[in-house]
């Protein structure tokens, strides 16, 4: 994972609730290798017609939204399937932060592990933000993870919360697994104790 850097970017509005991971990354691209540019598949069926031409109404086909790195969405963004590919698609396209009133739980956790910052802001704040950035295309926003702040186009600053450990990993580009591996002794001790307990689940070696 690459370190997360402060953002100053055009903000892109997605004006719909419950944007599921099937819409973000349709299932027919799930077998593609991670080495592919998943940005090409992002919102594929909303962005492109069957013949591959662009759907002009879709926000990412409009200037200057095309180059946005901050996405602003409605409630329950990223609900549905656990596919991490949805995060890869947003990331590969160039997005580094998504702001919404709520996220699908699995999407939220996948995002943090791939350098995409999910930011939860109150309903009313997001609603106002969506209004502003749709009315004034090209409106810029700032996101700073170190200070946990978002600066909206009108200059208002909003704070957001994030797990300190996830923040640490994002800022330094660290994988959680590296940290867990330093705690293997704790896992081994747990397993030793646990082995004496009843009903600890099926095993294929017994």
């Amino acid at each position: 994972m690459k370190p997360f850097e402060p953002l100053d970017s055009v903000a892109v509005p997605i004006m719909r609730a419950n944007v599921d991971t099937d819409q973000i990354l349709p299932a027919r691209y799930l077998q593609k290798p991670r080495s592919d540019d998943f940005g090409a598949y992002l919102f594929r069926d909303l962005r492109f017609r069957k013949d591959g031409s662009e759907v002009p109404d879709f926000v990412l086909n409009q200037e200057p939204y095309r180059h946005g790195r901050i996405l602003v969405a409605e409630r329950n963004f990223g609900c549905g399937s656990s596919r991490e590919h949805a995060v890869w698609a947003l990331y590969d396209y160039g997005f580094r932060a998504v702001i919404a009133p709520s996220f699908g739980d699995i999407f939220h956790s996948n995002a943090l592990k791939n350098g995409l910052l999910p930011i939860v802001l109150p309903d009313a704040t997001v609603a106002a933000l969506l209004k502003t950035i749709s009315a004034r295309p090209g409106s810029r926003m700032k996101v700073d993870l170190a200070t946990q702040t978002v600066v909206t186009p009108d200059g208002t600053t909003h704070s957001f919360t994030i797990d300190p450990f996830a923040k640490h990993c994002l800022i330094h580009g660290l994988d959680e697994l590296d940290y867990t591996l330093t705690e293997m002794q704790r896992i081994i001790e747990f397993e030793r104790r646990y082995a004496g307990e009843v009903a600890t689940g099926p095993r294929s070696d017994r």
Partner: protein
């Protein structure tokens, strides 16, 4: 139970038993008892290989291909797309390399992981179960803490048999009363989602309780927990009881002999203690639940079959009005039209939600002696090879085939179409699956979620139909 101890929920008991350590930020490292892997797991194995790490507990890991397998044959070589074929082959190779128990296409135990797990006795009460698939919540029906994870988390579990989690909030959904004829577990969960919304349980683990829940068979409970994720909850669970133990007893990977007795004694301590507190409580009356059907592109867009498509003009909130209008345009529905006037092109009976033997029996009971309506393409895709064999032993396959259904092999199939089984653009499918998202069953596909009985009713009439009318013989 010591009376000095604070009352605990089922969830809290499982959580604390699997807690290895806590990080300064409050996240807990949980031990994972059982890891299920399917044919979408190739990226996770690849992440591990790049780091030079071998799976830590292959004996706690079980694999079967379901997403990419063909349902018209049992031969991987018939998968035309080389990338899809490679996904199914990768699972076989990764499992063999790591020493993971694998049920392949030549094995009758192959099937959808969330059907195979309970069927093989892999899903035990009180255990933690994860899988790189959001419908892992299914296994909570047996009193397990079971939830879906992403690819990076799959690689973390493979490497360490653990997972970092922030303790979720708890929600209890109590459904009391009796379900009427023609109403099933699918209608309970669709009603719940209609009530609390698709984000209603985000950040929560649901415990389902009440007489209508404990009165369900294990298969009904599996359907209920399966769609917890469609209500926003990563996990849903039901306290283990005699129904659970009778279901599990004698299954291949269930404990046996003295281990069984000890296990049951432990499992009887798991149900939520009286007086335990939940962060949220929701109640429903089962007597009021009708057969449900979705009209839109989120599982929360749901009405009783006796209802109508919503009319955006009657909605005051502008944003909601636009959203409904956009949805109706995608779905090709007229505002205010009765749900029973919606014609259908496809019927799909199957999936981890409704691909079990009781689902097939209930659908077959409606289909028996009737024919699939002209112009409708109707499929049955059993949830596992063993479900298929059982159905054939009972003659259900004949009932379906005589009526004009296609009787296929086990897999995820048309629920999400990863294997190429898709609904054509603009076509409408009455489907026993779990998601009616835009393009879920194929680009441009239109999905109506409903129960197996309701899907069967739609198949024989060619439109969405109140199955209760067929049961009275009125149609």
């Amino acid at each position: 139970m010591s009376d000095t101890k604070a009352p605990q929920t089922l969830f809290e008991k499982i959580w604390s038993r699997h807690r290895i350590m806590e990080r300064p930020d409050g996240q807990v490292l949980l031990y994972i008892d059982t890891h299920l892997v399917q044919d979408g797991s190739a990226p996770a194995f690849e992440m591990l290989r790049r780091r030079g790490i071998a799976p830590r507990a292959p004996h706690r890991t079980f694999a079967t291909p379901d997403h990419y397998v063909p349902t018209d044959s049992r031969d991987l070589n018939t998968i035309a797309d080389p990338e899809k074929r490679r996904m199914a082959q990768a699972l076989m190779q990764d499992s063999a390399r790591a020493g993971i128990r694998f049920f392949g296409l030549d094995d009758p135990r192959q099937g959808i992981l969330h059907v195979v797990g309970p069927e093989q006795g892999l899903s035990w009460p009180g255990t933690t179960i994860v899988c790189g698939d959001s419908h892992t919540s299914t296994h909570g029906a047996l009193g397990a803490l079971a939830f879906g994870i992403g690819a990076t988390e799959v690689s973390h579990v493979l490497a360490t048999q653990t997972l970092w989690q922030r303790k979720p909030k708890t929600m209890r959904i109590v459904v009391d009363g009796r379900l009427g004829a023609g109403v099933s577990a699918k209608d309970i969960i669709l009603s719940i989602i209609g009530k609390i919304g698709a984000a209603g349980a985000v950040g929560h683990v649901i415990e389902y309780a009440g007489s209508a829940v404990t009165g369900l068979t294990m298969e009904g409970r599996l359907t209920l927990c399966n769609m917890s994720i469609e209500a926003g909850a990563r996990a849903g669970m039901i306290a283990p009881d005699d129904v659970t133990f009778e279901y599990l007893a004698g299954r291949p990977f269930a404990p046996a002999g003295r281990d069984w007795d000890e296990a049951v004694a432990y499992w009887r301590t798991l149900p939520t203690d009286p007086g335990a507190r939940f962060d949220r409580e929701v109640t429903l009356n089962a007597d009021e639940i009708a057969p449900m059907v979705t009209w839109g592109t989120s599982p929360e867009d749901v009405v009783p079959i006796t209802g109508r498509v919503p009319d955006p003009d009657t909605v005051t909130d502008a944003e909601r009005r636009d959203a409904i209008a956009r949805t109706l345009s995608y779905m090709g529905l007229k505002p205010g039209m009765p749900m029973t006037e919606v014609p259908i092109d496809h019927v799909f009976i199957g999936s981890c939600t409704n691909g079990r033997i009781e689902d097939l029996r209930s659908a077959a009971a409606v289909v028996k002696g009737r024919k699939v309506a002209a112009g409708v393409e109707a499929w049955v895709v059993p949830g596992s090879g063993l479900v298929k064999a059982q159905a054939e032993a009972e003659g259900l396959d004949r009932i379906f085939k005589d009526a004009g259904f296609q009787w296929r092999h086990a897999g995820c199939s048309m629920c999400l179409g990863t294997n190429g089984d898709i609904v054509a653009p603009g076509k409408r499918c009455a489907s026993t699956t779990n998601r009616n998202f835009v393009g879920r069953q194929g680009p441009g596909s239109r999905t109506h979620l409903l129960s197996p009985m309701m899907a069967a009713a739609a198949a024989v009439t060619g439109r969405l139909t109140d199955v209760r009318r067929l049961m009275e013989g009125a149609a």
